[in-house]
């Protein structure tokens, strides 16, 4: 008797787990993301093997700032796979160029680069890095339409949550590409990713998050890679 009960119990758990996994997979299909990429080209582009690109986040706005994680993600994706591009990490570049690329001192227009490169120390560092294109990324992810509620209780015998929550995430990012040689803006790429996230809770909350920022990052990086390679 004593040996049978644990087997029956674990069978019950397994069948519950199977049902839960089925539910999760079914819901995951719903919490998808849609991404739109727009490209506006203003000049011809190409890059050689010994040249590199730097991707920088804009941080001048008063109420938001471009997350460094997103900028890092775009840089990493551009440096991977076919036609990979050498990308200088943002922090390494900003520290090496200190204090010329801080939020208050960074150039706002491609034309401002001329004045900046007139400084010997800046021009020398830029040559050392071998930078052909400077990409300025600006944007943020906004969460809207939060609905539903979840209540959790904890007692001496255990605890649990019950309820349902949902919200929509919208990641909108612009990338402006500056040619460091011609000192001109050669193009702009806009990425907009939206997705609905769900948080059902039946004893344990199961977050089903729409990965809008990851999708925006992947699509923006792929488009930027093609853009810089002149495709």
């Amino acid at each position: 008797m004593i040996r049978v009960r644990p087997v029956y119990f674990s069978m019950k758990i397994i069948s519950k787990l199977k049902a839960s996994i089925g539910c999760i997979i079914a819901t995951l299909g719903v919490s998808c993301t849609s991404t739109t990429v727009d490209e506006f080209r203003q000049g011809a582009t190409s890059i050689e093997g010994d040249e590199s690109v730097v991707i920088l986040g804009r941080r001048q706005a008063s109420d938001f700032e471009t997350k460094s994680d997103f900028v890092e993600c775009v840089g990493e994706r551009m440096g991977e796979g076919e036609n990979a591009i050498s990308v200088i990490p943002e922090r390494e570049f900003i520290d090496a160029m200190f204090p010329w690329f801080e939020p208050r001192t960074a150039p706002l227009r491609a034309g401002d680069l001329e004045q900046l490169l007139a400084e010997d120390v800046v021009a020398q560092k830029m040559n050392e890095f071998g930078i052909k294109y400077m990409v300025w990324v600006e944007g943020f992810t906004e969460t809207t339409g939060r609905t539903g509620s979840i209540s959790c209780t904890v007692g001496p015998g255990g605890g649990g949550c019950f309820g349902f929550g949902t919200w929509e995430d919208d990641a909108n990012f612009d990338a402006r590409v500056w040619d460091v040689t011609s000192l001109k803006n050669v193009g702009t790429i806009n990425t907009d990713a939206t997705g609905q996230s769900y948080l059902p809770a039946l004893v344990v909350p199961i977050p089903l998050i729409a990965r809008v920022e990851t999708n925006a990052c992947n699509r923006l990086a792929a488009q930027l890679k093609d853009f810089v390679n002149g495709e």
């Binding site: 700032e65 994680d69 200190f98 010329w100 010997d120 120390v121 560092k125 904890v154 015998g157």
Partner: protein, 208 residues
Amino acid sequence: MRLKIKTQFLWSKVLALLLVASLMGSCGVSNLVIEGSFPTPNINKIPLSMAIFYDDALREFSYMEYSETGREEINIESGESHIRLFNAVLPAMFEEVIEIEGMDDPIIQEVDAVFSPTIEEFQLALPEKTKLDVYEVWIKYNMRIVDRSGNSLADWVVTSYGKTPTATFLSVEDGINEAAIVALRDLASSFSLNFSQIPEVQDWLNTL
């Protein structure tokens, strides 16, 4: 059965104790020492020999943030980080930099001027109060340069600003620290790039 009830009772006591301890902990003042490193500026050096004097008010500078009910919430100590910042910036700005312990130090007679920064105001904005998704820090400084005899050569105000976005796993202390480091870097950039353009400094440099 009796053993099970006893164990459950013990667990509930432990949980209650933990709850009380965490509530008591949340009532205290948290102390935050600003930590961070600063890169050396890439700028052309000014051919000057400058003495730097950090007074005790700067060395021991701290700011207390109060809750909306007037309770002491977070004590932010930023004196040491300011000294680390100036020690990274000034040697890149001037040909020679010497730190002095007081205005009566005899080494003053060997330098062109003495630089003495002070913090006039420190302000903090937390997301829970502003309802914005950023931590913000403002700092107002008074920069003073005096000659070997202690006469004022230049005296001007510099303000710096830093912000950092909120993130899922970022604690309040880490958010404030990051915003303060951005503000200190902002000070370094505006001070080092605008130093020669301050009218009083320009007038003084023209006399050398």
